[in-house]
């Protein structure tokens, strides 16, 4: 069982910044996210797109913002449970919570902060009947450990950055990589497209376009895929493989959180007030795009503000007898849990005048 002060559900910008604000109050945080890497939709959807409304950054790439947030929270050593979706929550007699993920990992926390954005990002699944049978039996919608595919025959489907990047990566790991895309054009970084072309020329990747995977075959696990070439003849082809990885992007779903007894309004979690963004269940907060209240704006900068106020309330909940006084980092610096310390340089006052 993982134990922490604040369990944050969602590793997007708001969830990450919560670690910093909590860290200033000496509260430990652990983050759960359904995606395999932190950053939420910034990392998954548009890491190379600039954002212009982050204070102090006239322009920052979404991916760079996430990198900066990760660096900013490094001193506070957050734990991560990635690639697992928060599934159930149980309130304990002492007011704390146990949150269990889709893979059974249990987390015990005094406070839960839902920073789930528009929900957990679920992979878009191809419309193949009975596809669930192969999930985790050769079929994966995201790659967490590329070593799983060492010396295996892999079929990747998709036309975006993920499909290109993983095809490139696995070309040196897997025994065979086949990339299937229903168009001849790819939506990805130009250098990735060129790299794939180079690997195709070197026979390290087999490229099949335009084509679609229609079916998966195999007794208990993936043994082959059936694909249809999107040409006039609609020729069918069976490709023997050990793994099939469709990378068709992600769609947000509020998911199991919707069943936690929280008040939901228009697919968002209603918070009782804007003082601390607490939900109708004391001890569970909702911050960032996942919440709703009169005047709500779904902006990253608003999520940062909400995280800050939420942490103060969480502190009071965890330490009801302590008086919390807000501190400025310019005065108190940043004291990491790893022993690191950042503080403003002290100005040296020198006496000026004739003596």
């Amino acid at each position: 069982m993982i134990t922490t002060d604040i369990l944050i559900i969602g590793a997007g910008p708001t969830g990450l910044f919560t670690v910093f604000e909590a860290g200033l109050l000496k509260l430990k945080c652990h983050i759960i996210d359904a995606l395999a890497q932190p950053g939420g939709q910034c990392s998954e959807l548009y890491p190379k797109k600039p954002i212009y409304d982050i204070p102090g950054f006239p322009e920052v790439l979404a991916g760079d913002l996430v990198d900066n947030l990760m660096k900013q929270i490094e001193p506070f050593q957050p734990g991560f449970t990635l690639g697992e979706r928060a599934q159930t929550i149980e309130k304990q007699d002492d007011g704390s919570f146990i949150v269990t993920t889709s893979k059974g990992t249990q987390h015990h926390a005094k406070v839960v902060a839902i920073a789930g954005g528009l929900g957990s990002f679920e992979p878009r699944k191809p419309t193949i009947e009975g596809i669930e049978k192969y999930e985790d039996n050769g079929l994966a919608y995201m790659i967490k450990d590329p070593e799983v595919y060492r010396d295996k025959k892999v079929v990747i489907a998709g036309g975006g950055d993920s499909a290109l990047d993983w095809s490139i990566f696995l070309a040196d790991v897997a025994a065979e990589v086949t990339l299937v895309h229903r168009r001849e054009e790819f939506r990805g970084a130009l250098d990735s497209v060129e790299k794939v072309q180079d690997l195709v020329d070197e026979n390290k990747i087999r490229l099949v376009t335009p084509a679609e995977v229609l079916d998966i075959k195999g007794e208990d696990k993936v043994e082959s895929v059936l694909l249809q070439h999107n040409d006039k003849a609609k020729r069918m082809e069976v490709i023997e493989c050990d793994a099939f990885i469709p990378l068709f992007g992600l769609a947000p779903k509020l998911g199991p959180i919707a069943d936690w007894g929280l008040e939901i309004e228009k697919n968002a979690i209603k918070v009782d007030n804007t003082l601390d963004y607490q939900t109708n269940i004391p001890g569970i907060y909702a911050i960032g795009d996942v919440n709703t209240y009169p005047g709500k704006l779904k902006l990253i900068l608003c999520g940062f503000h909400e995280a800050t106020l939420m942490c103060q309330s969480a502190y009071q909940r965890i330490f009801p007898d302590k008086r919390y006084v807000m501190k400025y980092t310019t005065v108190g610096g940043v004291n990491g849990f790893d022993g690191s310390r950042k503080e403003a340089e002290k100005a040296v006052v020198k006496k000026i005048g004739n003596h």
Binding site: L45, Y46, K49, G159, R183, E185, F248, G249, K266
Partner: protein
Amino acid sequence: MEDINITIIDREGIEHKVLAPTDMNMNLMEVCKSYELPVQAVCGGMAMCATCQCYIISDHDLGERNDDEQAMLWEADHVKDNSRLGCQIPITEDLDGLIVELAPED
């Protein structure tokens, strides 16, 4: 003209007749959101998610899809010949009387 009339058919088939300003640099996705229609706009209008996909019902000429829009619609579900991404359609006077239908969600 500062406002134009647009009809948006939601996923339940209900028609919403709305006024859309032409002087606020809005796009169709933003108009939908401003009227609290169920458009998620996950990517913030960067043609990266297709959650604002809609079908153009009237015969307005919206011009060619741009590269980003075209690429996204290649990957999206429920795409038809008249599919467009609301976030890539600026509101102009030429669109007065436009009728669109929200595409199904995944």
